[in-house]
């Protein structure tokens, strides 16, 4: 495509700029729609879990609710509180937005489909959250509101301290793949669950759990949503925002949900890898990748409506006293495992399936418990009747 455009006499830089612009526009559009749909998805699940209905009026099953919400937010007045630091107040939504959309540069969409396969893709993805931290701090300070300030400071403290377990949780996978690029990480895994990095050995499994917990905290999701604890801080750092600026924060929050899902999928759950026979059908790989990502998003939403909120000291304890030492153990264990594995490659063949088998047993146990719960529920309902 590039060569074709150049042959028509268009300047090479212009062509490159146009292609970059198209890819960026596609990503942002995709993200806006996805985060919109996720709001609907989340509210429906929440409704189901709380024995109510949730939004079901606009469009089929309420699917277009997010369009109505967005139009409502566009129409609202853009308020800036008196005494606010206007520059910081206005700048904050941009930074949060950039911080959440910048990861899309390195997020893969399937086998080998990626906007830019940076050599340091994973590190870039972790470090770019700095923009979000600064954005929330700016919003907290700029609003001239004590709840905003508390929310912003909590958010920054939380993200800075959970960044370490998250980065350490990624390390065993990086060791296993021997690469920092997203495509490299994805290609090191196979299509089958026992070839995924999460089920490689006990240490990667621990790392996976640490990473997942840490990402929940980094994304300000329940049970770690202290920055916007409604019962304490009204709405956290975005209390004073209204109209479109508020919409940007919400867009960023749900876009972040997708980023967490996609990163987990790519690094730990085999990405969009297909079996040999299916590899010519590249669109299947995109489908598979999105399916896994949406499943992770569903799990996160599920946790949000199941678990209560942590206290701030419990939150910090969890990060520094439990997750961090555990992640060191996982990192060290993975390094030792790789040394042993280098000498006896047989171990590699065994641990994967065993880990996956254990996972399946846990899953079976879970379904068994759920089934018992349902039966008990029916019994009590019946006796009451």
């Amino acid at each position: 495509m590039e060569a074709f455009a150049v042959s028509l006499g268009v300047h090479i830089y212009l062509v490159k700029a146009i292609i970059m612009f198209i890819i960026a526009a596609l990503s942002v559009t995709f993200m806006a729609v996805i985060s919109g749909l996720t709001t609907w998805f989340e509210r429906r699940i929440a409704g189901r879990m709380q024995s109510r209905i949730g939004p079901n009026r606009v469009g089929p099953q309420g699917l277009l609710q997010f369009v109505a919400d967005a139009v409502k937010l566009f129409m609202k007045e853009d308020l800036i509180p008196k005494g606010a630091d206007r520059l910081l107040f206005k700048m904050s939504p941009y930074l949060c937005m950039i911080g959440v959309f910048a990861p899309f540069v390195v997020l893969p969409w399937g086998m080998g489909i990626i906007a830019a396969d940076l050599n340091v893709g994973v590190l870039y993805l972790i470090s770019i959250t700095a923009l979000v931290v600064v954005g929330t701090l700016m919003a907290g300070w700029g609003s001239n509101n004590k709840w905003s300030l508390l929310g912003g400071m909590r958010s920054a403290a939380q993200i800075v301290s959970y960044e370490i377990p998250v980065a350490m949780g990624l390390l065993p996978s990086i060791l296993f793949a021997g690469s920092l690029s997203m495509i490299g990480l994805m290609n090191a895994q196979g299509w089958a669950p026992w070839q995924w990095s999460a089920f490689q050995n006990p240490f990667t499994m621990i790392a996976f759990l640490i990473f997942f917990t840490g990402s929940l905290a980094e994304g300000n999701r329940v049970p770690f949503d202290l920055p916007e604890a409604e019962s304490e801080l009204v709405s956290g750092f975005n209390t004073e925002y209204s109209g479109f600026r508020f919409a940007v924060y919400f867009l960023a929050e749900w876009a972040n949900l997708y980023v967490i899902g996609a990163l987990t999928t790519a690094v730990f759950l085999g990405g969009g890898n297909l079996p040999e026979a299916l590899q010519p059908y590249w669109y299947l790989s995109i489908f598979l990748f999105l399916l896994k990502t949406f499943f992770i998003m569903f799990v996160i939403i599920w946790l949000r409506w199941t678990l209560p909120r942590f206290r701030i000291d419990q939150l910090m304890d969890l990060s520094w006293k439990y997750l961090l030492p555990l992640s060191f153990i996982a990192f060290f264990g993975q390094a030792v495992y790789m040394l042993i594995d280098h000498q006896f490659p047989v171990i590699d063949m065994v641990t994967g399936p065993i880990m996956f088998l254990i996972f399946l047993l846990v899953l079976l146990k879970f379904f068994y418990r759920v089934a018992i719960n349902f039966r008990e529920q029916n019994k009590t309902v019946n006796t009451r009747a």
Binding site: K16, D85, L88, N119, S127, A130, W141, V160, E163, L180
Partner: protein
């Protein structure tokens, strides 16, 4: 002819220069702290242009994402922050002028007398592996000494905090 790297070089230059001026001349201490974030971010851009991809990402992670955030936190705790309009007086007497001028002079002399190994804006390929090999093979002793120093500093900080909590 100006290539893409040069265009980005001038963009980063503008970012760093503008933000640095804001850091120095803003009367609002907190705005200065926030502006420093963009300076550090722009420096990461320079590292990218010099082919140091790993270094650039670490610059964002450690300086922009870690140290600068702590700096902003610290700034929020300072006493003069309750009067944000005058919290950062830019001119603090003749001594600072001498100090700043002296530093500028020294830097200029050093810059003039150094021969720079690389002047290209071209990508040199991935550097992560080479950095790792240099750190863990050629410079293993300094690396370990620095790690040890950092651990000692961390333990010291914890001890100090514990003392403060008990009293």
């Amino acid at each position: 002819m100006i290539g893409i790297p040069e265009i980005f070089f001038y963009i980063f230059c503008a970012l760093i220069f503008g933000s640095s001026l804001l850091v120095v001349f803003s009367y609002n201490l907190l705005r200065s702290a926030f502006a420093l974030f963009f300076v550090l971010f722009g420096i990461a851009g320079f590292y990218v242009l010099l082919g140091g991809d790993f270094l650039a990402v670490i610059q964002i992670m450690v300086y922009a994402g870690g140290i600068n955030i702590l700096l902003i936190f610290g700034t929020m705790m300072t006493g003069s922050i309750s009067q944000p309009e005058t919290s950062n007086p830019s001119f603090q007497g003749i001594l600072t002028l001498i100090g700043g001028g002296g530093l500028l002079l020294i830097l200029l002399i050093i810059l003039n007398h150094t021969t720079w190994p690389s002047q290209s804006l071209i990508d040199h390929g991935p550097t992560t592996k080479q950095i790792g090999q240099l750190l863990l093979r050629n410079y293993i002793l300094p690396f370990e000494v620095i790690s040890f120093l950092l651990v000692a500093a961390m333990v010291g900080a914890i001890v100090l905090i514990n003392k403060g909590e008990r009293s």
